[in-house]
Homo-oligomer: 271 residues x 2
């Protein structure tokens, strides 16, 4: 497996990195097929937005060049890109000027059971709720203890993902996926302005669905509306789309809109 730090092969980094001290950074998890980063521009745009919101002064041209070279060398797999504010001294005050650090790590494509994509997955109902923090909402930052706690709630192989609500009971997302519901032929996915991670596959599916003339709503919805949905599915940038077939005692069929978006995601990931 490959590991680069600031463009050079390296597996160790400074223990003074603020990514470690405070989670002061961001990451992207990128599917790589035949040396190409899937949804490259969306990943870069989200990272650039995150750096702007956290005021991490990253050189996006340098970062993109390194990422392209890394993916070329990787060939097929998953590239994880982390950007931190770099080393810090004692205290929360960001160093001026900061010297951000770029970390690239590879992994093999995860081998999920074929039934996840075919018959769909069962959702575990996580007790861990997402806190509402508008200043960080949508970002894929390195403060991920809520996801660690949620993912630790189940160990069985029966549940492939967990459902996360916010503190007010709104349905937000999976632990490592975004979630869509279908009602009367319309796509609905959660408003992520208070919490949640705005996934690049979510953004791409919203764009492609709109381009196909499918109605899309980004808005709040609760558990009752999830249960009443015609179809439910999950997405992320590595596995694409998984239908959701069950949550506790409730079942959903795998519907036509889910299959349509799954095919779109598969095309993106395979090419």
């Amino acid at each position: 497996m490959l590991s680069w730090i600031d463009g050079q092969p390296a597996e160790l980094l400074s223990a003074k990195d603020r990514g470690l001290a405070y989670g002061d950074g961001l990451f992207e998890t990128i599917a790589v097929t035949a040396g190409q980063a899937v949804l490259l521009e969306r990943h870069l745009a989200r990272l650039a937005e995150g750096c702007a919101r956290l005021r991490i002064p990253i050189d996006m041209n340098l970062l993109k060049a390194e990422l392209l070279a890394f993916c070329q060398q990787l060939g097929d797999g998953v590239a994880k890109l982390m950007v931190t504010r770099g080393d810090g001294q004692r205290g929360y005050a960001p160093p001026e000027p900061a010297q951000p650090r770029r970390i690239l790590q590879s992994a093999a494509k995860p081998q999920y059971p074929a039934r996840n994509a075919e018959q769909g997955v069962r959702l575990f109902a996580c007790a861990t709720r997402l806190a509402e923090q508008p200043l960080l909402a949508g970002l894929k930052h390195l403060n991920r203890l809520e996801q660690v706690l949620a993912r630790a709630e189940w160990q069985d192989a029966e549940h492939a993902e967990g459902l996360m609500l916010d503190a007010s009971g709104r349905v937000i997302e999976g632990v490592y996926s975004n979630l869509f519901i279908v009602r009367a032929g319309q796509l609905i996915t959660a408003d992520l302005s208070r919490c949640g991670v705005a996934g690049v596959m979510r953004a791409e599916l919203l764009a492609q669905a709109a381009a196909c003339g499918i109605g899309c709503q980004v808005r709040d919805f609760d558990l009752a509306e999830l249960l009443a949905a015609d179809e439910v599915f999950l997405c992320n940038s590595v596995y694409g789309v998984w239908p959701v077939c069950a949550l506790q005692t409730h079942d959903w069929p795998v519907g036509p809109l889910t299959r349509k978006l799954q095919a779109i995601a598969r095309d993106l990931l395979d090419c």
Copy 2:
């Protein structure tokens, strides 16, 4: 400056550490005087509680032995102790078994202006609010982006600390301190069951005040009650107690209870 990882002098750590990837860990910032860790047992107890809540299986005996040796070697300064869940593979699921990592770093005692302790400090009114997450409240975990954002709100030297409210407008703490108010001879400090860091100096001052017969309340209060307070002060485990003399256009006098607790903290830090 000293830097130890798992008991050995080292300045680099694995880029696969989950402390970096997810902020999956905890820390303590400990004043060290003449080779002794101040408030040692309280720091160890808080860390042990944090490890229990995050289910990080740490060997507290080994950690304590390393910390004692580190402080002995340091002599005078500040010891920062981080515990992470150790290396991980891709994904949020905690590795089983985890191999936690222990990181010790030293710094010189910060040279704060003498007026902070004497005349008191001005509080900056941070716009960054603390999100409410009961599962993480009280812990000194490594997910500290809120503090990074809050501390980046001011650069002037006029403000030594910033005031943080929660999303509902309750007064919680400083960016790197806990906050007390005094009303009618009683100490009041925020309930930290929804957010905030339960500082060891806060715990020690509550215990010592109670032992002196001073009434102590741990409860919610809002900005109006803060402004109406007779005295306001901050505390942490490195500087002890600072009176708060002002917030924006509001002034407070430095009162007798503040001075009494400041003397208690000074005794702890000097010996």
